[in-house]
Symmetry: C2
Subunit: 332 residues, 2 copies
Amino acid sequence: MPCSPAPDRPTFADVKDAARRLRGHAVRTPLVESARLNEQLGGRLLVKAEMLQRTGAFKFRGAYNRISRIDETARPRGVVAYSSGNHSQGVAAAAALFGIPALIVMPEDAPAAKIAGTRAYGAEIVFYDRARESREELAEGLAAERGATLVRPYDDPYVIAGQGTVGLELAAQAREMDAPLDAVLVPCGGGGLIAGCALALAEESPDTAIYAVEPAAFDDTARSLAAGKRLRVAAGARSFCDALQPPTPGELTFAINIRLLAGGLAVGDDVVARAMAAAFTHFKLVAEPGGAVALAACLSGTFDCRGKTVAVVCSGGNVDADVFRAALAGVE
Amino acid sequence: MPCSPAPDRPTFADVKDAARRLRGHAVRTPLVESARLNEQLGGRLLVKAEMLQRTGAFKFRGAYNRISRIDETARPRGVVAYSSGNHSQGVAAAAALFGIPALIVMPEDAPAAKIAGTRAYGAEIVFYDRARESREELAEGLAAERGATLVRPYDDPYVIAGQGTVGLELAAQAREMDAPLDAVLVPCGGGGLIAGCALALAEESPDTAIYAVEPAAFDDTARSLAAGKRLRVAAGARSFCDALQPPTPGELTFAINIRLLAGGLAVGDDVVARAMAAAFTHFKLVAEPGGAVALAACLSGTFDCRGKTVAVVCSGGNVDADVFRAALAGVE
């Protein structure tokens, strides 16, 4: 194996260790709020602005932490990753900081902004057909061929621990703002971000209820949490939340999430678009569709914020201009 | 006079005092950068994201500092201000925090987002006709009638000192990032923000050159700095930078700026629109036209960033959706 042995399951200590490694490399993204929006909601809503993270999404955290753990001897052979775009940019940017090559397997229909970003960070890209090819097999084959390290998007203890630094910061910032958190809502695809956040919050903010939020058509984590076992997304599911489309919860991530989450929520694309517009109006932030689902759950009333202090993670802002313009079309 | 005596000219000590008063009320906005954009520019560009300030623009700082200085006995009679929108929202929000009434004189053609914001913070609005009425006279009359305190948008020592906290934070954040600043570029209307920033930077970062940036049609500060005296904007000047249209530099602000600035730069509306799109793409931030002029100066090459570390203040993000969508129209 071209990497140092990983813990089976990440712990709070791994999240703290990741935070030390990321210091000076990842952005401590701000936790923002809007007095006007709070008044409208009848509660206090805090937004963790991960679109301001390096590469425009939280994924840099896990990628950097993972790559920092690769043995010096294995590093020159580089890394391979598969992703629709945010993980690919995170891996590309982190690999560039370590001065090692990155090869990314991306779907042909990935957003142009994400393809351009991945290329700009110096990665090599191999495209695949989402309908006919398995990105995992393709990436595993390429990694084996090169002796490179595969950096998985979520089912990796170091990746989960790296994403968990979002939760660690969130808990500290909420304390600084004198805002004890009743609930934290986190966008969920494979579940790495929320699993890491849950590890951090369980220690740092134990009375906080943690919810996964997914696009309605990709609500596998919500259904899996309810069923107590990993279920799959229906064939042919569609959503414009390109970042949140894994077919089933991760194995490692689900084992954490079933233990630490209060439940899962789902939102339709229409309310996600309205949340993107609200992020523009109230926070002056650019949220991509998948990055806005937790905000959408609060603004649509899917999660009732009245009388509560609630934090949502806005996980990324890598959205094509035409998609963003369409989301703003209904705004005065 | 319904207010405590103000210093004739603000000093660095006044900026430090403003920072103490604003602590816990104003947001310490982040200083962000993009590795990709830095590579394109061949320099290091730091963006002070004041659109993330309370009310979506830096103006809250000066308004809050000014209002905090009104005598307790005069406060109940409230405040009056005139502004196309950002100062009005800053005054309305600060007045609300002090629990006092605010009356704002706004042009009929102010952006809808700014009118809605001012109203949402609980202020009363009186509209005037930009072409036929003097907003200063109207506001002075209303303030006298009510015994209220007039909060001027820039020609007030406490307002200048409040805006100067942007420069104070910027200098500290650049030090934290190990980024000695060769230059700082600041959007300039009446000159309050840049005058305050210059007071702070002259002490905290004395080797930094400070430039005012204006819309090409409203380059009165650039011409005035070159001429050594206050000149006026040509009649009929037009720009979509609604926040940067005072007809001439402020008296107090110009006295500071002529002493401390390296010069003035001007940018056309077309490059400002492209800078708004770049802020979307690279920083995931919503900049309004007037907020993006300093960024535009760097990206267009009007100011050459090659080999330098340059900070720009993005001063606000209160832009109507249709204007923002138009700015994104040229983006892939």
